[in-house]
């Protein structure tokens, strides 16, 4: 246990010194700001058009944004987490795995009486704490931003939904950090180690869903998942691949939390995201990596 805690502290310290969290905070706050602005601008524009159309007597329907959750403003954050956050988390994982090799300290660690799995567990714990802090800051900023837009603090239910979205985001990011760490441990070259998680991400985020929803591929870049095909090969593929289309599951569960229209079970989707994180972290801890001691062959 003490090895894991030592490694976790070291991971946090090394990451902070490498200034990685600052870049992540900037990116995440940028995502929240962009998402909130887009959400607010969309609402304002649509409402303005609606009121003109209503005044001209062309509709009697209610404003489409009436009774919509204020969290709808930040629904685009889901896509930013998928497109940017996951890649940044994977990069953090790769950098963590490569740190000893790059600093050439692997031999100093390899001659210490420590369990390698405890060391890796500690590093993931450190990354987990770092990502949790990052997500917490982001969600607080989200809460404040949405509160400012609606002219008052969000109620308890909405606050809980934001917290739930934060937990879900953390699970997805930690999972991708695990994928990055595994890649860094298995692949010798830094460039290859960085590329491999991007390929995994692209397959999960684009290829797998495409096999089930190819008729409307634009849904891949939209926050609201569209229903998969309900007949033929696409339907079968969609059902078969649904559990590993983790980003789609994240969109479904997040959509439910943020008040966007969704299809499928949000609870099952959230569970699959958690399962993905558990599998990725377990693999990152247990799978044996390449030889890292860096002892020259003399």
């Amino acid at each position: 246990m003490s090895t894991a805690i030592t490694a976790a502290r070291h991971e946090l310290l090394a990451s902070v010194r490498a200034k990685a969290p600052y870049a992540l905070v900037a990116a995440f706050l940028g995502m929240v700001a962009a998402s909130t602005f887009i959400g607010w601008r969309t609402t304002v524009t649509v409402t303005a058009i609606y009121e003109r159309v209503l005044a001209d007597g062309y509709t009697t329907q209610p404003n489409p944004f009436t009774d919509v959750s204020p969290l709808y403003y930040v629904r685009n954050t889901v896509i930013y987490v998928l497109l940017i956050g996951t890649l940044m988390a994977a990069t953090l994982g790769v950098q963590s795995a490569l740190r000893d090799r790059k600093a050439e300290t692997a031999a100093l660690i390899g001659t210490r009486p420590v369990d390698a799995r405890a060391l890796r567990t500690g590093r993931l714990l450190g990354l987990g704490i770092l990502l949790a802090a990052l997500v917490a800051v982001t969600e607080v900023v989200t809460w404040v931003s949405v509160g400012l837009l609606v002219g008052g603090p969000l109620d308890a239910a909405e606050t809980l939904r934001i917290a739930g979205f934060g937990v879900l985001t953390w699970l997805l990011l930690v999972g991708f950090a695990g994928v990055g760490m595994l890649s860094g441990r298995l692949l010798h070259r830094e460039r290859t180690a960085l590329l491999a998680p991007v390929v995994v991400w692209a397959v999960i985020a684009f290829v797998v869903p495409q096999l089930g929803t190819a008729a409307r591929p634009v849904s891949l870049l939209n926050p609201v998942p569209l229903p998969a095909q309900d007949s033929g090969a696409f339907a079968w593929l969609s059902h078969a691949l649904a559990p590993i289309a983790i980003t789609e599951r994240f969109k479904t569960a997040s959509g439910a939390l943020l008040g966007s229209p969704t299809t499928g079970s949000a609870a099952a989707s959230a569970l699959l995201v958690a399962l993905f994180a558990a599998v990725a972290l377990t693999a990152a801890i247990l799978v044996r990596g390449t030889r890292t001691q860096g002892v020259p062959h003399e």
């Binding site: 003490s2 090895t3 030592t6 070291h10 310290l13 090394a14 010194r17 490498a18 740190r99 600093a103 050439e104 300290t105 031999a107 100093l108 660690i109 390899g110 001659t111 210490r112 009486p113 420590v114 060391l119 001691q293 002892v295 020259p296 062959h297 003399e298």
Partner: protein, 245 residues
């Protein structure tokens, strides 16, 4: 009676099909300062790699401080200190932060006081909160020796410890090695190319040639066999190379 600190019994190691060590058998008693000499590629670093558990021998047995390197690797690691040839640290961290990390991995719970002691021993006080990335090679070697001594190891492995140091650095490190041995009784296993360092530091030597141990004896015996001013140099060339002695 002195017991054995390091023992190798018919240790062989291959990289692919190329043999790096062949049937290496060697006993080093406790308290010795042993110098392993040999040309580049002779197998010196491979020997240290096996003894420090960084490499697993293809065949043969090795014991360090009474523990088998294959079956009790953790006990071996708890008993040894290791200073690699080009010791490096986490450059963004300070001396203290680096040493706290390595001390805790060695099992020290509150290592700050011990780190202070060791830094004083190696003559490197006043740099605790400076980042290691700004240090010269000589400064890094001192921090390296400090990290190797933190947990009071019974056996200290030094791989080319004076490589790349200026004459002052070489002398300072030599004095530290002698002090570690004299004050703590630490057995020291040292790889080196520098024959002059061996004569000034070691009590016994071994010479490797293409992975085979071609000479092992006390420094006095080795030098005694070649009673001239450059005795060790002549002994080395007679054993380790095809060059005329």
């Amino acid at each position: 009676m002195t017991s054995t600190a390091i023992a190798l019994d018919r240790v062989t190691h291959r990289y692919g099909t190329r043999p790096a060590l062949v049937d290496l058998t060697l006993d080093i008693p406790e308290g010795e300062i042993f110098g392993l000499l040999g040309h580049n590629g002779a197998g010196k670093t491979t020997t240290v790699g096996i003894l420090t558990t960084l490499l697993q021998a293809s065949a043969g047995d090795a014991v360090v401080a009474g523990h088998d390197v294959r079956t009790a690797a953790r006990d071996v690691r708890a008993s040894l200190g290791y200073l690699p040839e080009n010791v490096t640290f986490y450059n963004d961290l300070t001396t203290m932060e680096n040493l706290v990390f390595f001390a805790r991995l060695s099992g020290l719970r509150r290592p700050e006081a011990r780190i202070g002691e060791v830094l004083e021993f190696v003559g490197f006080t006043g740099h605790d909160h400076e980042r290691v990335g700004t240090f010269s090679k000589g400064m890094r070697q001192r921090v390296g020796l400090a990290q190797a001594l933190l947990h009071r190891p019974a056996v200290l492995f030094l791989d080319e410890p004076t490589s790349g140091l200026d004459p002052e650095g070489v002398r300072a490190l030599r004095e530290l090695i002698l002090r570690v041995n004299a004050e703590h009784g630490t057995t020291i296993f040292m790889n080196t190319h520098l024959l002059s360092e061996v004569t000034k530091t070691c009590t016994s030597i071994g010479i490797l040639r293409s992975g085979r141990l071609v000479h092992h004896g006390t420094l006095a015996d080795t030098v005694g066999a070649f009673p001239t001013e450059d005795a060790l140099e002549r002994a080395y060339f007679a054993s380790a190379t095809d060059a005329p002695a």
